[in-house]
């Protein structure tokens, strides 16, 4: 994919605050560079999409190239939770708890139709949460059932773009 196409599909960068003093913006840039290039996901997968997530980490697609290498099993040490698969009513409180256990800053990717909207289990189903954004805030949505590993890589790259927009002011606002 060409760089131009990658930047063309959204207008994320237009939201970037203009102004600010040189010192702070430089620090912002450094921190954002660090954060965006070192997104450690939580080892968490509920169903089919998890297999594609594993495939994305494996030899052919190799997540690690982007610095997303270290899958941490402990939520305390991870930055990103990839909700790969259906979230059901019984799982929703657990997911919320996992999200709460993660340390700031933390990001969420909703991977696959189930996590985005309930997917094939939207109708006639008594136990499925229709979209993980009912439970935790989502940064990037990746559609597909299941999305290909390339789609996950693309989603993560979009997340990196999003992280690069953060400023120290934002962080303070969140903590308040």
């Amino acid at each position: 994919m060409k760089e131009a196409d990658f930047l063309d599909n959204a207008t994320l960068e237009t939201f970037k605050h203009t102004g600010g003093n040189v010192l702070l913006t430089t620090i912002d840039d450094v921190i954002d560079w660090g954060r965006s290039n070192s997104v450690w996901p939580l080892t968490f997968a509920t169903s089919c999409c998890g297999i594609e997530m594993m495939a994305a980490g494996a030899s052919r697609h190799d997540f690690a190239r982007f610095g997303i290498e270290v899958y941490r099993a402990s939520p305390r040490q991870s930055d990103l939770i990839v909700v790969a698969g259906t979230i059901v009513n019984k799982m929703a409180p657990v997911l919320k708890r996992l999200y709460d256990q993660m340390s700031e800053p933390k990001y969420v990717i909703a991977m696959g139709a189930c996590a985005v909207s309930g997917g094939p289990f939207y109708y006639n189903c008594y136990h499925v949460v229709r979209g993980v954004d009912h439970v935790i805030p989502v940064d990037v949505y990746i559609p597909g059932c299941p999305p290909r590993p390339e789609a996950l890589l693309y989603g993560v790259m979009q997340l990196q773009r999003k992280i690069k927009l953060a400023t120290i002011a934002d962080v303070k606002r969140i903590q308040k």
Binding site: K90, Y123, N124, C125, Y126
Partner: protein, 152 residues
Amino acid sequence: MDQDKLKERITALVPEAEFEENKQFLTAFIPAGKLHTAAQNLKEAEDTAFDYLFCQTGVDMTKYLMVVYHLNSTKHGHSVVLKVKADDRVNPAIDTVCDIWRTAEFLEREIYDLLGIHFNNHPDMRRIFLDENWKGHPLRKDYKDEVNIVEL
């Protein structure tokens, strides 16, 4: 044993058994009270030796609830289907067979969870999939859930 012999065998064991015709397997309705003894006998007797319960299903037939046992003998290779009715829709109860076939322990919990059939003498009769405080049993035909189900 072929189907006719099995039929005789089961009739001798449970005289009240009713047989359904034209099925893939030999199918017999057993009264709920006699299920446990019949099952025990069918498993332990040398000539039947139904040691493998390969499927146990709860069905809501609207008038009554039904549990279907698919049995197979790994020794002789023959199969039989036992069906047991639970007429009471409010408090249905059937004897457990999990002391005979261990696999029934989980299957019965599933049936209890989704259809609300209580199994007597089961060691751990709790819901398996849904929360403990979930209301109703989803696989029943009259199950209504305005909150969770989006009808197509």
